[in-house]
């Protein structure tokens, strides 16, 4: 029997957590108990920012972690985690990640260099703007303090005249309640799970961020311990887990939206023309991505990625 340790960055109670649990149990079931995956939720074996190092050292075998934590090690893979307003639906984001993995060899190469292999990427509902006061036009954001992360989101905030504030998730609730921040990009289900609606009763449908969240990864060392049949099973379960994740995640958004509306949240449709104004004010995130990748010799791959991005965005789903 092969026992694999899985360090998860999410809690067991979350949608992603439930899918990971299903994935682990299903692999055991279909390999007739030959492969057992022990999931440690809530960063039980290490913070998500440690997971890559833990996997390359063989300390953990699988991990769920966001590629966004590793801009140097996974520059191409982490781009969809950081570029704002790049897509508009969850389905597009799932398509994008699948196509990038299959069609851009440099991405798989990048994983291989780090001794890891991507199994599937969790889906994430669109991050709209949850706020303490209504936001119905671009000028409403002027001077507002907005929670951001990474290198690109602050530019999105600045383009709208908002003040970017870096803030940990644990401080989100209390900061919104005291006016430490006024706006945070977040999804319907997270607004419910983190109880933000108690202190920020407005959501504007600005697709501030649409993309993947953490992925589920396996180290090459652990992968090579599996027989070819077992590897096929893992791949198969991963593929099903992705679809399952999609259904659960998008389903959760509908349920959460209804819940939020019943609990006093007003959802504001952000006008198309105001959104267009915002997009015009943004820097060209894709061009910046390509030029920074060109500097490290990955320009061709980056351009290829951007083409796929545009096709997916044009697909309209």
């Amino acid at each position: 029997q092969t026992v694999l340790n899985f360090n998860s960055q999410v809690l067991e109670s979350t949608v992603s957590g439930k899918v990971e649990k299903w994935f682990a149990e299903e692999v055991t079931k279909r390999t007739n108990g030959e492969v057992k995956i022990k999931v440690f939720f809530g960063e039980g074996l290490g913070r998500a920012t440690e997971s890559l190092s833990l996997m390359s050292d063989g300390a953990v075998d699988l991990a769920s972690m966001s590629a966004g934590f590793y801009p140097a090690e996974l520059p191409l893979t982490s781009a969809p985690n950081s570029i704002p307003m790049a897509l508009s639906t969850v389905s597009q984001s799932m398509q994008l990640m699948t196509r990038l993995l299959n069609e851009v060899p440099a991405i798989r190469e990048e994983h291989k260099q780090n001794g890891i292999r991507a199994l599937f990427f969790h889906n994430l509902n669109p991050y709209y703007l949850v706020s303490t006061s209504p936001l119905t036009k671009l000028s409403d954001l002027n001077g507002k303090k907005m929670r951001t992360w990474g290198s690109e989101m602050p530019k999105l905030a600045a383009a709208a005249g908002a003040i970017p504030v870096t803030l940990g998730l644990a401080e989100l609730y209390e900061s919104l309640s005291r006016g430490g921040i006024d706006v945070a990009p977040f999804s319907y289900d997270y607004v419910r799970d983190y109880r933000l609606y108690e202190v920020a009763p407005h959501i504007s449908t600005v697709p501030a961020f649409v993309g993947p969240t953490g992925g589920v990864w396996i180290s090459e060392a652990a992968w090579s311990r599996l027989s070819p049949e077992q590897q096929d099973i893992v791949n198969q379960v991963a593929e099903e887990a992705l679809q399952r994740d999609y259904d659960e995640v998008t389903g959760a958004a509908d349920v959460a939206r209804e819940y939020l509306e019943q609990n006093g949240v007003t959802i504001h449709e952000f006008p198309e023309e105001e959104l267009a104004k915002w997009r015009d004010a943004n820097p060209d995130f894709f061009a910046d991505f390509v030029s920074s990748m060109t500097a490290s010799g990955k320009g061709d791959a980056a351009e290829h990625m951007v083409r796929i991005w545009e096709e997916v965005r044009g697909s309209g789903e």
Partner: protein, 159 residues
């Protein structure tokens, strides 16, 4: 010489701490006036590693590391020396491992060009090196104290 190195390192730790305070405060002042400092988190995290690990050996020299002295006090002097040498060997082993992996991570970090997720894209190797360097100084300090402990012991055993 080791004592001097430790003192310089500890001074550096103190300066890092002061800078952490100033950077954080400037960010708050900036945010209230609409211009938050870029990269506060990244800078603070780097400074914090320096503040902690550069003070390590000097803290050892001042016998500041926390121990639970419940029984050792009632023992005979020579047994006390033996136990303190044992404790030093444990510390040495622990920090030798941390230093070893620290240096190896520093080299890895330099070769991959590791940087932090954030607005500055701040390199990580300086912080990793501070950890490795601080632990190495700690190892040297432990060696020095073991040497002193063993020589006092052999002197105590002479008639």
């Amino acid at each position: 010489m080791i004592a001097n190195l430790n003192r310089y390192a500890a001074t550096l730790a103190g300066i890092a701490l002061l800078l952490m305070a100033i950077v954080g405060a400037l960010d708050v002042v900036g945010a209230t006036t609409g211009r938050p400092l870029v990269g506060t988190h990244e800078i603070t995290e780097t400074l914090m590693v320096i503040a902690i690990f550069m003070a390590l050996a000097s803290a050892q020299q001042r016998n500041a590391h926390i121990r639970v002295e419940l029984f050792t006090r009632q023992l005979s002097p020579s047994l006390q020396v033996a136990l303190s040498v044992f404790a030093l060997v444990c510390s040495l082993a622990c920090f030798a491992l941390i230093a070893y992996f620290g240096w190896s991570s520093t080299l890895r970090s330099i070769s991959t060009g590791e940087f932090r997720q954030g607005q500055l894209g701040f390199p990580v190797w300086p912080a990793r090196m501070a950890l490795a360097l601080g632990s190495t100084l700690m190892v040297l300090q432990c060696l020095r104290e073991i040497f002193v402990g063993l020589t006092t012991r052999s002197r105590a055993e002479q008639p």
